[in-house]
């Protein structure tokens, strides 16, 4: 449990996918205009990340690696299989959201299917491989990464709602200032780099 929380907090705050690795920037910038849609997309990302990372872990371990079921080293198929899993999961989320909340479905529009090409999702699966997590760690990493993404996009949307009332030079308005603010937020999050969350749980 300790290990689980450790990785969850680390991937949500210390190694935030958006603000430390700058993954998933396209939808992050495009959907962060109002807090409501931003939190909707954030929740969808938490869900998709929380499912796809463990599934991709299973696929990588039992299907693609040399001592899996097939007994062959098929790691060159990794990209194609991972992206297929992600695409089908996104399709699932899309159907659920359409059924449960048509209003949210309409406001997210094209960005719901575009979660497929949100680099944070595939990036998390690839990080999970390169950091050699085990299964429970990959569950924690998926949920934590999704939560970090949610946090970042909601914070950004809140800032941008306030920005509407400030006097910014015309050429910098919109996209330009959004980049600079993201940079500042990234620097703030950088302050947490190197913190090991384990110290909070070990009681030292």
């Amino acid at each position: 449990m300790e290990e689980f929380l450790n990785i969850f907090i680390k991937s949500a705050f210390v190694e935030n996918l958006v603000l430390s690795y700058f993954l998933g920037m396209c939808s992050y910038l495009a959907v962060s205009k109002t807090v409501k849609t931003a939190s909707g997309l954030g929740l969808a990302v938490i869900f998709v990340l929380g499912i796809t990372v463990p599934i991709n872990w299973l696929i990588n371990r039992y299907l693609l690696s040399e001592n899996g079921i097939l007994g062959m080293d098929l790691t060159f198929l990794r990209f194609i299989l991972f992206i297929a899993v992600i695409a089908s999961m996104v399709q699932l989320v899309e159907m659920v959201v359409e059924k449960v909340s048509p209003a949210l479905y309409n406001s997210l529009g094209i960005f719901l299917p575009l979660i497929t090409v949100n680099c944070a999702i595939l990036g998390a699966s690839l990080f999970m491989i390169s950091r050699e997590y085990d299964f429970s760690e990959s569950v924690a990493f998926g949920l934590g990464g999704g939560f970090g993404w949610f946090l970042a996009i909601v914070a950004m949307a809140a800032i941008r709602e306030k920005l509407k009332y400030s006097d910014i030079p015309a050429p910098l308005r919109g996209l330009g200032i959004a980049f600079i603010i993201t940079g500042l937020m990234g620097m703030a999050f950088m302050g947490m780099m190197g913190i090991d969350p384990a110290i909070f749980f070990s009681g030292k």
Binding site: Y21, L23, F76, A84, P171, G183, L184, G186
Partner: protein
């Protein structure tokens, strides 16, 4: 070599539309600063010039050929599964790029790490497939792909030029023609040992951090939009 000659011959009598496809993405319709696509990799790989040049070439290759392939198949793909078909084509091309880099240029491969794989989810590729290749003939789609790849590459190279110059004081480090510009020692062009003219200067560590890429990109957008007022965001 013969391939290059052929493409040159074919490129010469370009119609106005084809020229626009090739050169519009460099400024008026730049994929990064105007269409807001493919930001992730533009930020992550640009701390040095060499990996960003490699990345630009790789992305151009992938966009151009996936555009070509999808455009050839566009009338046969059922609408419901088009995303998956597109992704499979892209993933196939990216796997080629990855294996080629791994074989011929291992240090650069190591440096780019997951970002080669992330070309699959680089929104420029998907975006161009959806917006252009699904509705246009192969040759034009191919040109559109090359144009967008170049537009992306230019931004990457500008950002990484500033980041490497001010962050490390070198340019093109890792290649045989590495240039040492700012730093302490007589082999640098601008010597910053303490008793020299530029002794006050030390490398700016902020430039090495990814946040610097965001600032530089913000500046590029500022500059571009003040030169090109029709791009200004009114909302």
């Amino acid at each position: 070599m013969s391939e290059m000659k052929e493409s040159k011959k074919a490129l010469f009598p370009m119609t106005k539309k084809e020229k626009r496809l090739l050169f519009d993405p460099l400024n008026d319709n730049n994929p990064v600063t105007v269409q807001v696509l493919g930001i992730c990799s533009a930020l992550a790989v640009t701390s040095m010039l060499l990996p960003s040049i490699v990345m630009a070439i790789a992305v151009t290759f992938v966009i151009a050929f996936s555009n070509l392939a999808i455009s050839l198949m566009r009338n046969y793909i059922p609408k419901q599964v088009r995303m998956i078909v597109q992704l499979v084509v892209i993933a196939f091309l990216v796997t080629i790029v990855e294996l080629t880099l791994k074989a011929y240029s291992y240090p650069v491969y190591k440096q780019l790490s997951v970002f080669i794989g992330l070309i699959i989810t680089n929104c420029i590729v998907m975006g161009r497939l959806e917006a252009f290749a699904m509705a246009n003939p192969p040759w034009q789609s191919f040109l559109d792909g090359i144009g967008n790849g170049l537009g992306y590459g230019i931004i990457l190279i500008i950002i990484s030029f500033f980041r490497e110059l001010f962050g490390r004081g070198t340019l093109l480090s890792g290649t045989p023609i590495e240039m040492k510009i700012i730093g302490a020692g007589s082999d640098f062009w601008i010597d910053t040992t303490t008793n020299s003219w530029f002794g006050w200067y030390t490398n700016n560590n902020l430039m090495v951090l990814p946040a610097a890429a965001l600032f530089i990109l913000g500046m590029i957008i500022w500059y571009q939009r003040s030169k090109n007022p029709k791009l200004v965001d009114i909302s």
